[in-house]
Every structure is written in structure tokens, then in C-alpha cells.
Symmetry: C2
Subunit: 240 residues, 2 copies
């Protein structure tokens, strides 16, 4: 009874050029962990149609869910919706329910629903809409791919719309222990601990602070009692 | 005369579980842009040998350079070096020059070069070492893959060691213009600008601040005069 698997696809030149530091990956990772969905892989690709289509196909085939971030606005570089349609061989056009959402929104704002904005109502055939309470233009789910905006506040709102509709598994639990010794001193006992608790994931994250070496040991799993037992043994062995 | 292409592979459960926010991707992206190497794709995978091996092979085939981050320490979850060797069918063992570096370092520190620490001297056959002035244990380059540590201070030091050895292209230049209007209002002229300057990459990054919509327009390319011309035209059209 393992948890559903997921991958994320971040679309955007601005991340790959170093202009913007991505925030959505870290946010989604935390939300999925809480919801009991195992994020196994993330890919970041540029605003390039063949790259997006290939990544969507590979991730959709490899994982139960795929979450995308970026490229669904009104400008010429927003090509994600068309790429998703292409990846699944679906047609794409302005859809009436999405158009109506945008028309009402821009009328309230006193803005025009022009040709560029209407692009945001282009939805692949067979998709269901993802609610966007922040800026109205919807995301969508096609097959197992959930397509969301890149602006962090909108991305978060869309994740909040879509996650409750997905069946999660047991939340991934974790406990950590900080050990003020170099990794090289603790690697032996840590390896034995990992071998004795094969259902737990035991990670060591080294740090240096004020010239001293240490490591945060993080033990993750779905069985809280096992994690307790492993942490207690580790603390005893390390004299922590 | 296009720039060399590159991909990055980030290895680490801690990123995918949301425990840690990756910092190395953003750092490497900026350094590569300055050095004239085009970062085209990033993948993040967990500490899982088949996933690492498959990603290394795919990225090594697809791009001129691959940079990896994470998984080369002394603990049981540090499996990157063995995975790189497997990806290229190379043997791997403790190598004398790497062992000597570590022996001298731990002798200076008054620590023991134990079995766990010796794991950090395991280097695939045919690789060259990457200098690590921060914590000595070296990275390495095998074929077109540059293998570096995940600890950000060490990652940065290794990038500084390896980048000067690589032939870069023309640095990617950029200029940006902030426009205090919604993307939907500027998408038309922006699309025409992109069509008229096919050698430039023109990105629109929307934001919302205090309830008002705006977008940062970023124009990138290798020809500064073209970027100037495009920015001047955009500013004139937008009345900015």
C-alpha cells in the first residue's frame, strides 16, 4: 500500500537563466508530503515547445500525477496549454465556461477581454478546470497532468484547489536529530541503522558552522513508532 | 555559433520532501549564464540508484555538459559516484591521489581517515578531480559530467574550480523594463516585438502588488545593440 507518485514540471526561461529563483517546487514538495503523495522527480525546462511536450509525455507515463507550473498567461511566451494538448493529441480552443469566467472578471475590473486575454480561455478538449480565486484565469487537469500558473500566489491557490480532489496516502512523517560531529564519524552507525530499518529513509545532511562540522539526520517513513525507535537508538549511540 | 548547452541534475530526497529548499540550481544558473553556457534543463531526483543512472545517461546524451549536485559524502545515502560509474560502465575504487588529499586533511585535523571517509576517495576510472578548497573531498569530471557536492558552500567552490576549465560562449545579456499594466494589455505589442526580433528572447513575468497588475519584461540575447533597440521600441510603445 504505497503512496501515489508524482512529478513536477517547471516551465520557464527565467529560472534557467538565473534571473528568478523558483519558489513553487519547494512549496509543492511540502504540500504533497503532507498529503501523502510522493514527489519523485522535478524537471525544469525552457519555454520551448518540443522540450515541454517531451517532458510532459515522459512524466505522465512515469508517475501517477504530474503538476506543472508556468506558461499559462496571455503573452506570446505562454505556450503551456498548447503543449499539453499536443502531448496528448487533444484539440484546443477557447472554451465557453473559461471564457465566461474571464468575461465576468474583466467586466468587474472595467478592462477589455481582448484577444490576448482570451488566450487564457484556451483549454484542451476533455480537460477539467482548476479554480483560481486569485486572478480568475483557470488552470486545468488533462489526464493525469495538473496545469497551474507560475506566479507563486496563483500557484498556491491552484494547488489548494486541486489537492483536495486527489486521493493521498499516509503522510510522510519525519523526525530529525542534530549531531555535532563530522559525517565521517557517524557514517558507520548510521549505515547499520539504515540496514536495520529498511522501511525508513535515513538521510544525513552535513553542515559547517563556525568552523565545526555537524549533520542533521532526518528519518522519514509512514510508521511513527518505527521512526521513534530509530531516533531513540541513534540518540543513544551518538550520546546526543 | 551558438553557446554550449548544459543540464543540471540535483540529487536529494531532502529537496523532494520539501525539507530543504534547493539553492544550487539558482546559483549555477547565474554562473552559467555569465560564462556563456546555456542551461537548458534541470532534473531533481531522489537518492535512488536507477533514477540517478537513468537521468545521468539521458542528460549526458542530450547536452554538452552536465553538472550534478549532491550525494558524494561519506554516508550510506551518498551513492552518486557509484551511479555515475554505472552510467558510463566505468569501474570505481579508492584512488590514490584522492586518498592522499583526504589523509593529509584528516591528519591536519587530528581525525581518523576511517572507512566511511575513505568512501569519498572512490573515483570512477578515467575521471579527473575537481578541487574542493572548502572541505577537501574532491568532486570529479567523467566524460561530460561534472560531479559536485550538495552543501552550498562546497558546491560554489567546486563550480569556481570547474567553470574556468570549460569553453564558454558569448555571455547572455539582458535588459528589463517594468510595466505597470496587466499582461493582457501589453501582450499584443509584445508578441509583435518578439516576431520582429527573432534572435532575442522576450519574456513577460507578471506580478501583482498592492492589488495592481504589472509585468517585468526581460529581453535576452547575445547582441547588446539589438537588445537596446528592442527596449527603446517597447518603452516608446508602452509610454514607459
Amino acid at each position: 500500500m504505497s503512496n501515489p507518485t508524482a512529478a513536477m514540471l517547471v516551465i520557464g526561461d527565467e529560472i534557467l537563466s538565473g534571473r528568478t529563483r523558483d519558489a513553487n517546487m519547494h512549496y509543492l514538495a511540502g504540500e504533497l508530503t503532507t498529503h501523502g503523495i510522493d514527489l519523485r522527480e522535478v524537471r525544469v525546462v525552457s519555454d520551448d515547445a518540443p522540450a515541454i511536450v517531451a517532458a510532459v509525455r515522459a512524466l505522465s507515463d512515469g508517475y501517477e500525477h504530474v503538476f506543472t507550473s508556468g506558461g499559462i498567461g496571455p503573452t506570446h511566451d505562454d505556450i503551456t496549454a498548447d503543449c499539453i494538448a499536443e502531448a496528448f493529441g487533444a484539440s484546443i480552443d477557447v472554451r465557453e465556461d473559461a471564457r465566461a469566467l474571464l468575461a465576468a472578471h474583466y467586466e468587474r475590473q472595467g478592462s477589455e477581454l481582448n484577444e490576448a486575454r482570451l488566450r487564457m480561455a484556451r483549454i484542451p478538449e476533455g480537460a477539467s478546470l482548476i479554480d483560481n480565486p486569485v486572478s480568475i484565469a483557470p488552470g486545468f487537469t488533462l489526464e493525469n497532468v495538473h496545469v497551474m500558473a507560475g506566479v507563486p500566489s496563483v500557484f498556491k491557490a491552484m494547488v489548494a484547489s486541486v489537492l483536495p480532489t486527489l486521493t493521498g496516502g499516509a503522510p510522510l512523517l519525519s523526525q530529525s536529530l542534530r549531531i555535532d560531529r563530522g559525517e565521517g564519524d557517524i557514517a558507520g552507525p548510521l549505515g547499520k541503522l539504515a540496514a536495520d530499518f529498511p522501511d525508513l529513509s535515513i538521510g544525513s545532511y552535513p553542515f559547517q558552522k563556525d568552523g565545526a562540522y555537524g549533520a542533521n539526520i532526518v528519518i522519514r517513513g509512514h510508521d511513527g513508532a518505527q521512526i521513534d525507535a530509530a531516533i531513540v537508538r541513534l540518540a543513544a549511540e551518538m550520546g546526543a
